[in-house]
């Protein structure tokens, strides 16, 4: 039998295509046609039809023998009614007047990420998530609306279930119900002194009343190196090595006053090099001035090693999680346990994590509710040794690709000597395998709250929270992982053992009084709160050398020499009072105002306290009568806000002139000395940001397209900066409140339901533009050099923060004539890099260093496309950035003249300037160029990229009696990247120790292919 009918909208009576119509409890269904009509064959005229359509409230209609059923679907206003978590409370989405963006469990759950922050990349306008290191579990760099700070942390404040925490380490991504980012000051100002960089609010899953549900999920996958670096191959390396040897030979001739030429045969050189004590022959050559006779036999006699292949591996990653949730009227629970095990793609690195989270809610008495969370987690890892200067990611690319046949990938490591035609080194493979680094981090996050309904409209919330972090790090570097193993006097002579213990506690006591009242069309909500937060950090570190052997890193005074033994305690205290009033009239006119006062022990005695006000306005035009007839517009809201926030996240105790021990010895005995270790600044104070935000939210075409747009300007004043100062003060830098920075930008978020019906296609797209500019600096606006050794970047009025200030390379001086006819430096030689004469004065000098870019991208983009068809779903996430630069010091250390011929180089060095006759590609200088000490644009790259960040294909199994829901999926993370960066592994890298953004060889990112499942019983 056939049922026919038509579906229209309840409010505007328009026809509604794409509505899913099924017979309840079966898979028998259809969807409405373009004119809203449908026709469905049913076995009999009993049962119930379910009409559903995204954005509309589903409706069930009993068939009751009818063959014609026409209905009207009402728009689902739930989306606007849904609660958004804001600081110290929730708010209806429709009534939000600030700039808030969020993601929900759905976007997080199926990503193979070990840190929840990773799942934010590309998901929200104005939120930049940068994977600065690909190391498993490494911190990510999150920036909300540009760089507002330089030295003080640019990290947002993290709040988990109402409790501020230092970071999100150890939080299992699948525990999270949703994640909101408060971007504008009006929203963040309620967090006062810590709101400047935005606030990330994490809400974890809580139980719901009902039968106990058992949930089991997991994934397993393989990770690979995302992107290789292009280095010289073995033949190319041998070729340049020969040229270096010939050059050294000719130079030796000059020193000795003999005429040696590059063409001198090896037996001649051997005769010349023979001395009474050492006989040199072509078979027993001198490696400085003669070729290796094995070069002519290639791999028959030598090992050719691709070090990137040797260092990076196919690595397994897996996570399993089990959860139980449910409850009664008086008691609900949600308990989740998870286990993650991840090998790193770099040999010898790994991460394991176990987490437990128990969220319990109980009604104790009428009007009294208890909430509690217990969330212990432990991480075991073997990491480190990879990121940054002189570490193994860098070592892997600069290793010579040629070595002795027997040594293979263990060249330079006990028992194999380094290759005589290269420098002193040890195989990075041996270092990773032989050093023992293990870290255990245990975290206990616990909190308990009481919500008490006092009298009508008044509620009191009391919250106590504790966050304990304990880190134990053991490192053991045995003698056989040192490049000098061969000459060590005994087994443990060069061994080093380290133990780091950090214990951190954070206690929070908070009380909050809230008042909610409705009279007529007036709605009012007010809160008043006070909190006291105390932290204590105890860090201790011991290092011992001269251990008894190569297998035990355990040390005591008896078997080793303790060279470092320090304990550093820190305490901080933050006392706050805060209040907020939200008022609306008919949910049409919305007003909100808040005020917070914070006192922090971090600042100088003269500036403990700060005051943080905020105000915002909203107008829901769509609720106005004159809008009621404009049918295509389903929602329209205008928002405006202003607020002041702060940033206190600088290292502890920097305001004091602390005395450090500077000891000396007299007559062979150590004596104590003390002198200040830093420059004191009593007036060190808050960094403050005042922000304006204006926004517009609307949705059209029956909510098929919804748009949210914001413009903002944030001005950070009294910027905290560890600025350089004259060495005449005794110090080279100190923390100062030094200037003003402005970030201005536009953000656009767009959600569109492109296709509805059997095949659905949704797109969500976001783009943000941010412009960063320094407005004022110090008393005199003098620019402040920053970056690597303060020579690569600058903080200068009118420019973005940490703009790159470098010599701009325009080519290579081909010959003396080229030098004479072009602007040049006093000591320029042919083959040197040619710099642009920026000021046109005919000479190249320091005044020609020029601003050539900055590390902050102008635009960031994210786009997610979701498709569903029957039981299949497909999601594709693309993220991109444009308009920023990255400075490659890893490139510089393997890509600069003066690095000699011993180690490997970027492949482009094949095309270097060799002589006037062989000028190369015109951009790569001579290996002996005199410009190696200058920082120039040869190592500056665009950081633009487009990345196919995630592709997930899922299949939901038809439901049967044994389970409620079952799903399997395949996911590909970091599927592909298009970029312009040749100086390192990834354009997101940032691992420098100084200011500014630069790459000194970071842990590369991985491409991860996973298979996962999700089962609910």
């Amino acid at each position: 039998q056939t049922i026919t009918g038509k579906v229209i909208t309840a409010d505007s009576k328009e026809t509604l295509p794409g509505v899913t119509i099924v017979v309840k409890g079966t898979t028998n269904g259809t969807s409405s046609a373009a004119d809203g009509t449908f026709s469905l064959n049913v076995p009999d005229l009993n049962g119930t039809l379910v009409f559903s359509f995204v954005g509309y409230t589903s409706k069930e209609v009993a068939i009751n023998g009818q063959t014609k059923i026409s209905i009207a679907l009402a728009q689902d206003t739930k989306m606007l009614d849904e609660a958004v978590v804001v600081g110290y409370g929730t708010q209806k989405r429709g009534n939000v007047t600030g700039a808030v963006a969020g993601v929900t469990a759905k976007e997080i759950e199926e990503r193979p990420v070990n840190r929840i922050e990773n799942a934010l990349a590309g998901q929200m306008p104005g939120v930049t998530v940068q994977t600065v290191s690909g190391e498993p579990g490494a911190e990510l760099q999150i920036r909300v609306r540009g760089t507002g700070s330089i030295n003080a942390s640019t990290e947002p404040l993290y709040v988990v279930d109402g409790v501020p925490v230092d970071n999100l380490r150890g939080i299992n991504p699948t525990d999270v119900a949703n994640l909101e980012v408060l971007k504008d000051a009006a929203s963040a100002a309620i967090y006062g002194s810590r709101g400047s960089n935005g606030v990330v609010i994490v809400t974890t899953k809580r139980g719901k009343k009902g039968k106990a549900q058992l949930q089991f999920s997991g994934y397993t996958g393989i990770q690979n190196l995302e992107r290789r670096m292009d280095m010289m191959g073995p033949e190319q390396w041998i070729q340049q090595r020969k040229e270096g040897i010939d050059e050294a030979w000719v130079n030796r001739g000059k020193t000795l006053g003999k005429t040696y030429t590059a063409n001198d045969p090896m037996d001649f050189r051997a005769r010349e090099l023979t001395t009474p004590t050492a006989v040199v022959t072509p078979a027993h050559p001198n490696a400085t001035y003669m070729y290796d006779p094995k070069w002519q036999y290639g791999t028959d006699s030598l090992a050719y090693t691709d070090w990137q292949k040797a260092m990076f591996r196919q690595a397994v990653m897996q996570q399993y999680q089990i959860g139980v949730s449910g409850g009664t009227d008086d008691f609900t629970y949600n308990v989740n346990g998870s286990y993650l095990s991840q090998q790193g793609i770099v040999l010898g690195t790994n991460l394991q994590r176990a987490t437990l989270r128990a969220n319990l809610d109980a009604k104790v008495r009428k009007g009294i509710r208890l909430t509690m969370t217990l969330a212990p987690s432990t991480e075991w890892s073997g990491l480190g040794r990879v990121d940054g200067k002189d570490q193994q990611a860098l070592n892997a690319i600069q290793m010579p690709p040629v070595g002795p046949k027997d040594a293979g990938v263990l060249v330079g490591a006990d028992p194999y000597p380094a290759y005589a035609w290269s420098g002193r080194y040890i195989s990075p493979v041996a270092v990773m395998e032989r050093t023992k680094v293990s870290t255990t981090r245990t975290r206990l996050n616990a909190n308990m709250g009481l919500n008490i309904d006092l009298i009508k409209d008044f509620q009191l919330q009391l919250l106590g929270a504790m966050d304990n972090n304990y880190m134990l790090g053991d490192e053991f570097y045995p003698t056989n992982s040192s490049r000098d193993w061969a000459t060590a006097t005994n087994e443990g002579a060069l061994s080093r053992s380290r133990r780091t213990q950090n214990f951190g506690t954070r206690y929070l006591a908070q009380s909050l009084l809230s008042y909610t009242h409705q009279f007529g069309d007036h709605n009012i909500n007010a809160i008043l709160g006070a909190s006291d937060e105390r932290t204590r950090q105890d860090n201790s570190f011991q290092e011992a050398t001269k251990l008894p052997n190569d297998w035990s890193g355990l040390f005591s005074n008896a078997n080793s020499v303790t060279t470092t033994n320090t304990t550093v305690p820190f305490k901080t205290n933050l006392i706050s009072v805060f209040g907020r009033v939200q008022y609306n009239y008919k949910e049409k006119y919305l007003v909100s105002g808040s005020l917070r006062r914070d006192g922090s022990s971090k600042f100088g005695a003269n500036s403990h306290w700060g005051l943080f006000p905020a105000a915002s306005l909203g107008w829901r035009l769509s609720e106005e009568n004159f809008m009621k007839n404009i049918n295509f517009m389903s929602d329209l809201k205008l928002r405006a806000s202003w607020g002041v926030t702060g940033n206190n996240r600088i290292p502890d105790n920097v305001q004091y002139s602390l005395l450090n021990p500077y000891n000396y010895s007299l007559n062979g005995v150590a004596v104590t000395g003390y002198a200040p270790g830093n420059y004191a600044n009593d007036n060190l104070g808050w960094e403050q940001t005042s922000s304006y935000n204006a926004g517009l939210d609307f949705s059209v075409l029956r909510s098929r397209l919804s748009v949210s747009a914001d413009v903002y300007t944030r001005t950070t004043s009294r910027l905290l900066l560890s600025a350089i100062q004259s060495s005449l003060t005794g110090f080279t830098n100190s923390y100062q409140n030094i200037g003003d920075i402005r970030n201005q930008g536009v953000e656009l978020g767009l959600n569109s339901r492109n296709l509805v019906g059997a095949l659905t296609w949704n797109t969500s797209f976001n783009v943000s533009y941010n412009q960063n500019k320094v407005l004022r600096l110090g008393f005199d606006d003098n620019p402040i050099p920053t970056g690597f050794t303060n020579l690569t970047s600058i903080v200068q009025v009118g420019q973005p923060v940490n703009a790159f200030l470098l010599y701009d390379v325009i080519g290579v001086y081909k010959d003396q004539k080229d030098i004479d006819s072009s602007p040049h430096m006093a000591k320029t030689l042919p083959g040197d890099s040619k710099y642009r004469d920026v000021n046109g004065d005919g000479v190249i000098d320091n005044n020609d260093r020029t601003i050539v870019g900055n590390p902050q991208p102008k635009f960031i983009f994210g786009m997610t496309n979701n498709f569903t068809y029957k039981h299949f779903d497909l999601s594709i996430l693309i993220n991109a950035q444009q308009g920023g630069q990255i400075y490659s010091l890893v490139g510089r250390s393997i890509d600069r003249p003066g690095m000699g011929y011993l180690y490997n180089k970027l492949a482009k060095w094949e095309n270097r300037w060799k002589s006037e006759a062989e000028p190369g590609d015109g951009m790569t200088p001579s290996i002996n160029a005199t410009t190696g000490a200058y920082y120039d644009t040869r190592w500056l790259y665009s950081s633009d990229y487009i990345r196919l960040k995630n592709i997930t294909l899922g299949y939901t199994l038809p439901s049967v009696r044994f389970y409620n829901r079952a799903r399997v999926y395949l996911a590909l993370e970091n599927a592909y990247i298009w970029d312009k960066y040749a100086g390192g592994y990834t354009p997101e890298a940032s691992n420098g120790t100084g200011l500014g953004s630069y790459d000194y060889g970071g842990y590369p990112q991985a491409r991860t292919f996973t298979f996962g499942f999700n089962l609910t019983l």
Partner: protein, 479 residues
């Protein structure tokens, strides 16, 4: 609430609550000495010795390091070592100034000794500063960030006068000797010997103040008269660099000990490239192929005991049988010592002023007193021959003043090789350009033009210029 927010750091004192008694002030003095621990590396080796013709960096073997740029006369204002040395020297100046301010309220017995030590070490720093950079800013008190921007570069003569005043005060107030537990502090003789060297430098390039010769003579003869108490010429040259002889021969030494973390010397590691296991458990990190063949080949007789105490021409590792034919400076390495816990932890002191230096300087003074064209005075010959004969060389016989100048130059080169003295000798005697241009030509150092006067100074580190752009002018000839 206020109390809750004033959390004093637990593990540290701060300047506000320190300097309460003599013990505190004494610890402040020790911190100034502590600042000199890095001088042998940052100043004497990486800057002075590296600039001289004792060292030749083979750029084909050495990946680019700052020392290669300094050795090849291509260092720029961006060369990191220059900033490190500048900061290091001014740090000692700052600690000395701070001590001089904090000691003001006190009048205990050692007040003047402490002041003398602070001023001696301040002078030591300025003496290096003025010789590397010429006109340098004089900080004579602790400075705020703002005030520091207003200090101009003082003329070279003013800096020298400032140094002289400090050393005179030190010579007048420092004790002649110390009790055993205080051995290693600067003595009256240390101040006088350094003052003699300062006067001799003022007599030479660039100030060329003729009247300083007599002043130098006075100071040096005061010290020579105290041989035994002020220091001594070591009868056996290699003894000078042994830990067992710390504070025995030299007039002033920087003190090092092993095994305490941070109080050891890294000089042996700075100067060499590779040690066999029987010499040290730790490999050094100095530049590859360092010793200028010209230092060896310039007639340094094999019978000179100093040659083998200064250089090693190779070894066979007794453990691995590895051979090396490299020549390197191992003067400061006590071969086989097991005390160090790392490359930067050798126990032997570093001499700042040796008694031999005082004697040779006095020989130079006496020779300079002679009119041009005259012959060397007998006393000067006696002094130089004392140094020569104890090393196994033949005594020199009479010669012209000019010939004796060169003989002294040669003698000092051998006696003080790797001690950071050669470059300063060449500059003050006006010989630097001749010698170093020859060095550049002979060794094919890549350099576009002959060296000129500007190469006798280093460029001011760029960061220091940028603190207050345009306020200080860069030294001529540099970017």
């Amino acid at each position: 609430c206020k109390d809750a927010l004033d959390i004093a750091p637990e593990a540290h004192n701060s300047t506000a609550d320190f300097y309460k008694d003599e013990s505190d002030v004494n610890q402040g003095v020790m911190a100034i000495y502590n600042g000199t621990l890095t001088f042998p590396t940052n100043s004497q080796w990486n800057m002075a010795e590296m600039r001289s013709d004792n060292i030749l960096i083979n750029t084909a073997l050495n990946v680019q390091r700052d020392y290669a740029d300094i050795n090849g006369f291509s260092a720029t204002s961006q060369t990191g070592q220059l900033q490190a040395t500048w900061t290091d020297l001014y740090e000692v100046v700052y600690r000395a100034n701070l001590l001089l301010e904090k000691i003001e309220p006190f009048t205990f017995a050692r007040t003047n000794q402490f002041k003398g030590e602070a001023r001696f070490l301040r002078a030591l720093s300025y003496f290096d500063l003025v010789r590397y950079w010429g006109p340098v800013p004089i900080a004579d008190k602790t400075l705020s960030i703002q005030d520091a921007k207003t200090i101009p570069r003082s003329p070279v003569a003013d800096v020298y006068n400032f140094i002289v005043e400090d050393l005179k005060f030190a010579a007048d107030n420092l004790p002649a000797t110390y009790a055993a537990g205080d051995k290693g502090r600067a003595t009256k003789w240390a101040a006088k010997a350094l003052l003699g060297r300062v006067y001799l430098t003022m007599y030479g390039y660039p100030l060329k103040q003729a009247d300083k010769l007599a002043l130098a003579k006075q100071q040096l003869s005061d010290v020579i008269a105290q041989e035994g108490a002020a220091g001594a010429v070591a009868a056996n040259y290699p003894d000078l660099f042994k830990t067992a002889n710390d504070n025995k021969f030299s007039v002033f030494e920087i003190q090092y000990i092993s095994g305490t973390g941070g109080l050891g010397s890294q000089t042996p590691s700075d100067q060499a490239f590779q040690f066999p296991s029987q010499w040290s458990a730790f490999q050094p990190f100095g530049p590859d192929a360092t010793v200028n063949p010209n230092l060896l080949g310039a007639g340094w007789p094999k019978l000179d005991k100093r040659k083998f105490a200064t250089l090693d021409s190779g070894y066979v590792d007794t453990k691995t049988n590895a051979r090396s034919g490299r020549t390197q400076f191992t003067k400061f390495l006590e071969k086989g010592t097991t005390a160090p816990t790392g490359q930067r932890d050798y126990p032997n002191n570093y001499p700042v002023v040796r008694f031999e230096d005082v004697v040779l300087m006095q020989a130079e003074v006496l020779n300079e007193e002679v009119a041009n064209g005259g012959s060397v005075p007998a006393q000067a010959l006696t002094y130089i021959n004392r140094i020569r004969t104890r090393s196994g060389l033949k005594a020199l016989t009479t010669m012209s003043k000019e010939a004796f100048r060169l003989a002294l130059e040669q003698e000092r080169r051998w006696e003080f090789a790797a001690e950071g003295i050669r470059w300063f000798d060449l500059v003050r005697t006006g010989r630097a350009l001749t010698v170093m241009n020859d060095f550049i030509k002979t060794n094919g150092v890549r350099h576009p033009a002959p060296l000129d006067e500007h190469d006798l100074l280093f460029p001011i580190p760029l960061q220091e210029l940028q603190v207050n752009p345009g306020f200080w002018q860069q030294n001529p000839g540099y970017n």
